[in-house]
């Protein structure tokens, strides 16, 4: 059970960069991607901040060479760009040379177009092309088509903010069981009025830069992003003599079974997810070198997750930080975004700073890593926790 699944490629687009290299530069330079919202006409624009990707839909469509009659949601556009980079990074030239599948994650899906044309559909034939693009599986179908994946396993997971972590988990299981030789896993979510207003009604949006694990944290910044990893079987690695970036070593999923939108006070679900992941990896807590926390900067999450970390790691807490201050909370994509960051951390032996932190939380005395730190890393544990009590942990490792 403890053998890791090889990662051979990755791609990303987020508020801090249009590809892996740009994201890494922003991470080590402490460059945030948080700003006022510019692409969505919302009455909340002066009281929220977001992690928005600079390119417009038209620019993204042109980058992908799509014809004007396309019906891509922004989720599909972002997802395709990140997935294509991942394939290129993995040096895959014939996608169907091996049994290749795609497992993507989204929560917004085509909601950006639905909310734009909701009533327009009733009288305007030209916008009706987006009706079929609404459901969550549509962006995944389009990404598969763009990658040339045919007659294969293509599916979508939507478990709120843990979605992409779960896509990685299912992908790893598909490789381990021999169902697939290769699987592209990740997630994509664009900003939308739907999520902005949804989180606004829950009163968990910060009116300024989000501050994970800070005593005075005011809530999250929503972000948009997409990221994908390529997972390949040992057989493919050996046959193709592939370079391996890292391994999916352990994974765990548990349900908090506490509340539809809030985490339990002591982080039962997160604790279970981390414990299960350690067990699958055949690690003990001491084997973890860095925790990339979910750390959304909401009052509830950071307290619950912090307590869960204490429960799992006891006195010896590894270095930990949240990268949400850079990207905002990218919802269903976040598990994949932070997977890319975890692999970059392993590659460069770097721990990212938890930006915007000023005041120690009073409920416990653990403090996130505040400066960029160079340290030999062998393992990174990444948490993704979501609505519906969904808690997921993935452990990435340098060695198989």
């Amino acid at each position: 059970m403890s053998k890791g699944v090889a990662i051979t490629g990755m791609g990303i687009i987020s508020a801090i960069g249009n590809n892996v290299a740009e994201n890494y530069q922003s991470l080590i330079n402490g460059k945030k991607g948080i700003s006022r919202v510019s692409k969505i006409d919302t009455i909340h624009k002066d009281d929220i901040m977001v992690g928005e990707i600079a390119s417009t839909n038209l620019e993204l469509e042109q980058q992908l060479g799509l014809t004007p009659d396309n019906n891509y949601s922004r989720t599909a556009l972002l997802g395709t760009i990140a997935a294509k980079e991942a394939i290129q990074d993995a040096k895959i030239f014939d996608i169907n040379a091996y049994k290749t599948g795609l497992v993507s994650a989204t929560s917004v899906g085509g909601m950006d177009m639905t909310e734009t044309y909701y009533y327009d559909y009733l009288e305007n034939k030209s916008t009706q092309k987006y009706i079929e693009g609404h459901h969550a599986g549509d962006s995944t179908q389009k990404i598969a088509e763009q990658l040339g994946i045919e007659k294969s396993l293509v599916t979508t997971i939507s478990t709120a903010c843990s979605s992409a972590a779960n896509a990685i988990m299912f992908g790893a299981r598909l490789i381990k069981s021999g169902k697939l030789d290769r699987v592209i896993v990740g997630g994509s979510d664009c900003l939308s009025k739907f999520t902005i207003n949804g989180f606004k009604t829950l009163m968990i949006l910060s009116d300024t830069y989000n501050t994970p694990f800070d005593e005075n944290r005011k809530g999250l910044n929503l972000g948009e992003a997409a990221a994908f990893l390529v997972l390949e079987s040992d057989k493919v690695i050996a046959t193709e003599k592939k370079e391996v970036l890292g391994y999916v070593k352990g994974y765990g999923n548990a349900n908090d079974a506490y509340h539809q939108t809030a985490s339990s006070e002591n982080g039962d679900g997160a604790t279970l997810a981390m414990q299960k992941a350690l067990k699958v990896a055949a690690y003990t807590a001491n084997d973890i070198d860095y925790i990339n926390a979910h750390g959304t900067a909401t009052g509830n999450n950071d307290l619950s997750e912090g307590r869960a970390i204490l429960r799992v790691f006891g006195e010896e807490i590894p270095d930990f930080s949240s990268t949400k201050a850079y990207t905002g909370h990218t919802l269903a994509a976040t598990g994949a975004i932070e997977a890319v960051y975890a692999i970059l951390a392993l590659k460069h032996n770097i721990i990212y700073p938890n930006l915007n932190f000023k005041t120690q939380m009073k409920e416990f005395d653990i403090t996130p890593q505040l400066e960029l730190k160079e340290k030999e890393l062998h393992t990174v544990l990444s948490n993704s926790l979501g609505f519906g009590g969904n808690c997921s942990t993935i452990i990435f490792s340098k060695e198989q």
């Binding site: 939507s158 169902k179 949804g198």
Partner: protein
């Protein structure tokens, strides 16, 4: 590798399927282009106050899963895996329209919270206090098959012993209206008993919840063994037969081993051709079964197909109403299911009598 068994079922559909002591004893026929479920008495399973607050999808999912657990004679499971095409779509509609109608003001969070796709799975976990693995697949017509595959992999490798899986989708008014505009729903009211003869575009939209307890431990309550499930994002009409053959070969079976094929025909003249490809060629001598005239078309309608096949295998009875052709088959050992929607997201599932 452990075998995977269906040990309990719970179905809420446009037929009275929630009572496991019956098997399509009475048939409801419809003359409409959108059909709803026959509701069980939800209050028997959920406190009235809670039931009032719940979205229809949640209610159907929670109760269908409860029925399946009772049927399997267990109180809890190791994992819950849900498939849904649209989640609680009414709440999505409510929240979007409120945003537009009130210019982003005076909004309340309830419909936003319920609109999240994993709400049904989360609510089932909350009700059962099940802290185990909890996934929701949302990939159109293979949402349920993705859940089944995930469960199969975990049970085969003994990562879990008992898993609750299900498919659930509910109607939404706006979604129905706009799907009529693009002819995904038949424009004319159609007699459900004659749906395959309609020769028109679109389907009759339905809704429902079909949940199953699957386990790697054999029990008295077993319905069937799940031999295999496979999904395909694309297949052309000409590739369907080859895919079926390969799927059977992978499982060491031939056409002759198949006692019945359960097909997802929905009466859409444009896409039933995929099913006809199988029914008029490879499986022309096989007992053919159809069911979407009973439950309507929805993203997880194929979970009703699995419910039907499970019942056939356990009771060894084939209700007249689901026969697509007349064969004399009376022993049902192995059943193959095939489904697709609008030419995409195809699936083959193989079940065997225990």
């Amino acid at each position: 590798m452990s075998a995977v068994y269906i040990t309990g079922i719970g179905s809420i559909s446009s037929q009275k399927t929630f009572d496991n002591t019956e098997f399509l004893n009475e048939i409801n026929t419809y003359t409409d282009n959108v059909i709803s479920v026959v509701n069980p008495n939800y209050k028997e399973y959920i406190p009235a106050a809670a039931a009032r607050r719940m979205a229809k999808g949640i209610k159907m999912g929670v109760v269908a899963s409860r029925i399946a657990l009772v049927d399997a004679n267990i109180n809890n499971v190791d994992a819950i895996i849900t498939g849904t095409g649209m989640g609680c779509v009414r709440d999505s509609e409510k929240f979007v329209s409120a945003i537009i109608d009130n210019n982003e003001q005076y909004l309340t969070p309830t419909s936003f919270i319920q609109s999240t796709h994993n709400t049904v799975g989360g609510q089932i976990a909350l009700g059962l206090q099940c802290k185990g693995y909890n996934f929701t697949y949302v990939h159109a017509s293979v949402s349920f098959e993705s859940a089944l595959l995930d469960a199969q992999l975990q049970l085969e490798n003994d990562e879990a012993n008992t898993i609750l899986i299900g498919g659930v989708d509910e109607h939404g008014d706006h979604t129905i209206t706009i799907h009529k505009l693009i002819n995904h729903i038949k424009s004319e009211k159609t007699d459900s008993t004659r749906i395959l003869d309609s020769k028109t575009e679109g389907a009759i939209f339905g809704e429902g919840a079909n949940f199953f307890v699957v386990s790697n431990q054999k029990q008295d309550s077993n319905y069937a063994e799940v031999i295999a499930v496979q999904t395909y994002n694309t297949l052309t009409e000409t590739e369907v037969s080859r895919a079926a053959q390969l799927f059977l070969e992978d499982n060491n079976l031939s056409i002759d081993n198949i006692d019945a094929i359960v097909l997802g025909n929905n009466g859409d003249v444009k896409y039933d051709t995929f099913y006809n490809e199988l029914s008029s060629n490879l499986f022309k001598d096989t007992q053919q079964v159809y069911y979407k005239h009973l439950c309507g078309e929805f993203n997880t309608a194929s979970s009703f197909g699995v419910w039907l096949a499970s019942k056939i295998l356990k009771t060894q009875k084939l209700p007249e109403v689901v026969r697509l052709n007349k064969k004399s088959t009376s022993n049902f050992t192995t059943i193959l299911l095939y489904n697709q929607y609008r030419g995409e997201n195809h699936s083959f599932t193989l079940l065997r009598k225990c």
